[in-house]
Amino acid sequence: MNDMRIVERAVETRNIKISARGVQVHYGDKHALRDVDVDILDNTVTAFIGPSGCGKSTFLRCLNRMNDTVAVAKVSGTILLDGEDIYDRRVDPVQLRAKVGMVFQKPNPFPKSIYDNVAYGPRIHGLTRNKAELDEVVEASLRKAALWNEVKDRLQEGGTGLSGGQQQRLCIARAIATSPEVLLMDEPCSALDPIATAQVEELIDELRASFSVVIVTHSMQQAARVSQRTAFFHLGNLVEYGETGAIFTKPSDPRTESYITGRIG
């Protein structure tokens, strides 16, 4: 862990990309998330940490309205993306999700070729005009996901035949192929071995140059390694949010300290 490096980065000032105010989520009778206020900055990696069931994934899924697909979920409060309310009735969740991409806990490549997996987003959103352009997007995305050299000779083979780490990088390539503005990652390394994890973490750091990245993680080391800002959730509440170095070295809330030192979780 290089805390000095993190502090150094945090000095730069950035724009607010997503601004959430008073976000509440109910799953049926269960109050899963209470009154969350968070500002997520552009070109920053923001980590959500906290014990299981604390609401961090729930909040992540609010940011691209994935909770819409869960029938019993009810979201209230406001979430602004570039100043626009994403829960406004005029916003189509389908278009929103093209701007706010998502990578899931378990690698979930579609049962298609590697090429078709990456081309999926550009195709459904009509982002390219011809095959040559699509080829370019696919190659660029795979390069950004640090997968190009491994798969360039077998683009037409099935995506499910790759190793776990390659599959997850394929899913990242798929998510960035639509050139989103925000990339949400829900525990992207939890199903990967340490080497693949290191590759994905390196990638996340590079992706920061182009997107705002939000990552949910169970590993505090990972949060410290990859993020500039960290939010700590506990029992559906946002306990503390701030600069990563500060959260890990001098947390202001006793609950944060307990979690970081391993006493709750």
Partner: protein, 496 residues
Amino acid sequence: MPDIRAGDFLMSVFILILALLVIGLAGFVLCRARAVASVQGNVRQLHSLPGYHGWHGFIMGVLPGLAVLVLWVIAQPMVIERNLSNYFPTAQFEDAAQRTLLMADVRRVAAGLDTAVARGAMNAEESVTLSTDTGSVRDRLASVGVALGAEVTPQVLEAAQAYRAQAATGALWRTVLTLAVAGVAFLWALRLTQGEFRARNRVETVILGLLMLASTIAILTTIGIVLSMLSETIRFASMYPIADFFFGLTWSPNFQGNSELGLLPLLWGTLYISLVAMIVAVPIGLFTAIYLAEYASARVRSVVKPLIEIIAGIPTVVFGLFALVTVGPLIRDWLAVPSGLGSSGSSVMTAGLVIGILNIPFISSLADDIINAVPQSLRDGSYGMGATRSETVRQVILPAALPGIVGAVLLAASRAIGETMIVTMGAGAAARLDLNPFEAMTTITVKIVSQLTGDTEFNSPETLVAFALGMTLFVITLGLNVFALYIVRKYREQYE
């Protein structure tokens, strides 16, 4: 000699089985108690739980006895039949068909004598000494309500009397041997029972055997069906040129001879009707499944799914009625006659449509399960990319579910090919090679039924052709099923 009547056969076997169960029950109780007593009530010192010792006692009390009983019941008629051979001329007994007839006579007379004794019209002594010299046996038996087709010959009467005697002796030995084996096994189980005895492992072995037996029965039955059809088909092939059967373009059976038994018109009718059925069933069934699995809310699903599956519970003969009185006339009056394509109430269209409807719940139910088995993570991935529901269904879920869906469609196709009642009532009985779907045609299944119904003997090509048709049908559906399995295996995606 004890007089156990043949009519009591089932009764005595039933009582014997009851006796075995009683021994088994005693075995359960005693072995369990003995196991517990052998460790002075400290059950933890037993290798197996007391219940397992009990079940071991039960199994030992019942199974060996039951095995003896079953073997005896199978063997006894064969032995008696062989013993009776010296009552009849050898030539008569060599011929399988004649022998079957003779033995049927013998059994009938023996049963008649039993009834007569039971009604008191004859005493036991008389039933043994009765002979054809002292008057008509047929009349005597008729007076107690046993009707015989012809006068009883002396040989048959003697054989029947011998049959009764041997059956009675057999029944006695059967009872004695069964009970003896059961008793020995029971005592042995009791002796084995003590703390260290591994009753649990033995019970598990018996359970394994039971399960294997169950699965073997299904397999053996299938093999038996195929073999019986095969032997008749070979007989057919020896009477009728097999090339004419496979490639003949005319189907006109004629019981006086000169039949033309060409398969092709029937095969064409079968495939044509099945094709229409699949054109109806596949899209509707698949769309239903997609709606239920991907779009419908839990409440709608819980109502709609059972309603659709009701169709599967309607007997096919009722569907046949529906085809006959509703769909057939409708298609004739609104499609066939106006377009000038035909005037027949029964047609390929009618039968195909109704079979299609019958197959909708089959396809929708199977496809629904298959679509539900596609992991949620794939849906999330697609929605997370900003795909709409129908894009997700078309581009992610259907490709993932495709092997299973193809399998379901092929299974439905083999059901359509084998369907009988609906085609009988909806498609007519005219064997015809025609492209017009509004004409009456017929299928292999219909012709199998019509060749075998009525007073027929299995010795002419006109009746035996039914087995050749059945064999053809079996091979077609078997091929479809194998192909379906192959597709499913080859293209199945492996999900964790």
